[in-house]
């Protein structure tokens, strides 16, 4: 049984930023994003970090059964952990989760293929993430973890979904954008909202044929900050 873990940027991989069809565009053909049917659709059935809050209930048991039932030689289940790179704690929880799942998955060998999905100027998957060392702790268990440093990362399709690129760009420019807002005497209501605004702008400009990633970010962010102030506060112009 193959299990694919997508470990990446929370500004890209949260369900509200990316849909399952978009994810499938850069995953291998056999990959099938694992859905947790006991959650309602609106709650994000593929927000797998919920599996990490596994105190005293049967979510891992249910997930393990589902992973085993749904997978076959032709289909590999995919789990997505948007925050596992952001913190060592989350990475350790992923490792603990795999250990616990192992008890439900029986004596099957489980090879974990980690993918890191990052976006660098519309490029694709890059180097393995730094926190993978934590998975090495599982080496002596029944779960077999591949040598993570030598894993061949499958290149992503160049057809990267626009919303992912927009979110990546928005996430990368958030702090500068906030500084521009502060200079205008404002602070954004929330980082999520600011990211949404930036991402929307990026998507809009891309649709209009512009390439925001190639533009001078400072000037662009300055004008966006003006728009933000104008639109939401009515203070400019």
């Amino acid at each position: 049984m193959e299990l694919i873990l997508v470990i990446g940027d929370s500004s890209l991989l949260l369900p509200r930023y990316i849909t399952i069809p978009e994810l499938h565009e850069f995953l291998p053909e056999q990959a099938v994003v694992f859905e947790m049917p006991w959650y309602s659709r609106t709650a994000g059935r593929y927000y797998h970090e919920r599996l990490l809050e596994f105190e005293a209930d049967r979510r891992l048991e249910a997930a393990s059964l589902a992973l085993e039932v749904e997978s076959s030689g032709d289909h590999w289940p995919v789990l997505i952990f948007p925050s596992a790179l952001d913190s060592q704690v989350m990475a350790e929880r992923v490792a603990a989760m795999l250990r616990q799942m192992k008890t439900h998955l029986g004596s099957r060998r489980l090879t974990v293929h980690p993918y890191r999905v990052t976006m660098t100027d519309m490029a694709a998957i890059t180097e393995p993430p730094a926190h993978f060392a934590v998975f090495q702790t599982l080496r002596n268990e029944e779960i077999v973890i591949s040598d993570l440093s030598s894993i061949r990362l499958t290149p992503a399709s160049p057809n990267i979904p626009g919303s992912m690129a927009a979110n990546q760009w928005a996430s990368g420019n958030l702090s500068s954008f906030c500084k521009h807002l502060e200079r205008r005497g404002l602070s954004p209501e929330s980082h999520d909202r600011a990211i949404s605004l930036l991402a929307e702008r990026h998507a809009f400009m891309s649709k209009s044929g512009m390439r925001p990633s190639m533009m001078n970010p400072d000037k662009l962010l300055e004008s966006l900050a003006d728009i933000y102030v104008n639109k939401f506060c009515g203070l400019s112009g």
């Binding site: 049917p37 006991w38 249910a62 039932v69 749904e70």
Partner: protein, 296 residues
């Protein structure tokens, strides 16, 4: 992971349709179909073998040298299964695309809710297609007293091909009663619920499979006798609901037998069952007669 158990007798074209509906499932886990031919004629058997060879499914084909009847065939199928989960489908009936996926999703939900998987069967709503009539949806109501509802047969019906469950849950019931050439499903369901099992519906209001129903060629007396065998076998359970309920169940069985007799052009036999129903439960028989007349 999943064995789909399919009895077949003398209808290779129907088997083909059934296998195609399995192939088209959106659920993509490991699946094996086990088909057992129950002594079909030479020509139909050869046709069935061809159908199986042409199918993309992984299929194990078993043959009985003579026609032994459906309960014996089903027992052999059950003995041949070794997957963790089992589903049933009769040659001639079909599943819709999401049947297995929706039922497996229900299984995961049951695990999450802490249910013992070996004590539940997942059923589903289905379409009922009478030959030459419009397809109609039948809802399986799993709330309330399931045993009572199975005896009544209106809100919850005993059809194996609606089910998904663990192999252990089916084995816990024991085998199919080989004294029952008909209605062995009903007996099997009642035994399951009496043994502490519970039926769960998927929560999908849409039908997930289709039953192609025909009374033609079925012996009404045989069906009525099977009801008697079941009522005797599960007498204590039936008696729990009182004499009135017992009388009503007998009258209902008479009406079912009368329908079979009528559809097989045996009006005298149909009349006999109608009269029997009047003897068992006159009020119910009058009600049925009235609704029949209203429907024309």
């Amino acid at each position: 992971m999943l064995d789909v158990l399919i009895p077949h007798y003398n209808d290779a074209a129907a088997l083909d349709m059934t296998l195609q509906s399995i192939e088209a499932q959106s659920w993509k886990g490991k699946l094996r179909a086990i088909v057992m031919d129950d002594g079909s004629d030479k020509e139909e058997l050869a046709h069935a073998e061809k159908v199986i060879l042409n199918s993309a499914l992984k299929i194990e084909f078993m043959k009985s040298p003579e026609n032994r009847g459906r309960p014996v065939t089903r027992n052999k199928l059950l003995a041949a299964a070794d997957a963790r989960f089992i589903a049933w489908l009769d040659a001639g009936d079909v599943w819709y695309k999401h049947k297995l996926q929706d039922q497996f999703n229900t299984i995961y939900q049951c695990v999450y809710a802490g249910e013992d998987l070996n004590r539940i069967w997942v059923t589903c709503n289905y379409d009922w297609q009478w030959m030459g009539r419009k397809r109609r949806k039948v809802t399986q109501t799993t709330s309330g007293d399931q045993l009572k509802n199975l005896f009544v047969g209106d809100r919850l019906r005993a059809y194996l091909w609606t089910l998904l469950g663990t192999r252990e849950s089916f084995n816990l019931v024991g085998g199919f009663d080989e004294r029952l050439p008909r209605l062995q499903d009903l007996d099997y369901f009642i035994s399951f619920v009496r043994g502490g099992g519970r039926l769960v519906n998927t929560g999908q209001s849409e039908p997930l499979c289709c039953y192609f129903k025909s009374d033609v060629g079925r012996n009404a007396q045989e069906i009525r006798d099977c009801y008697d065998t079941i009522f005797n076998k599960h007498g204590p359970a039936l008696g729990r609901y009182g004499h009135g309920f017992r009388r009503r169940s007998h009258a209902k069985a008479d009406f079912v037998a009368a329908r079979f007799a009528e559809n097989n052009k045996r009006p005298l036999m149909a009349l006999k069952f109608w009269l029997q129903a009047f003897g068992s439960d006159p009020r119910y028989a009058l009600y049925r007669t009235k609704t029949s007349l209203q429907k024309g």
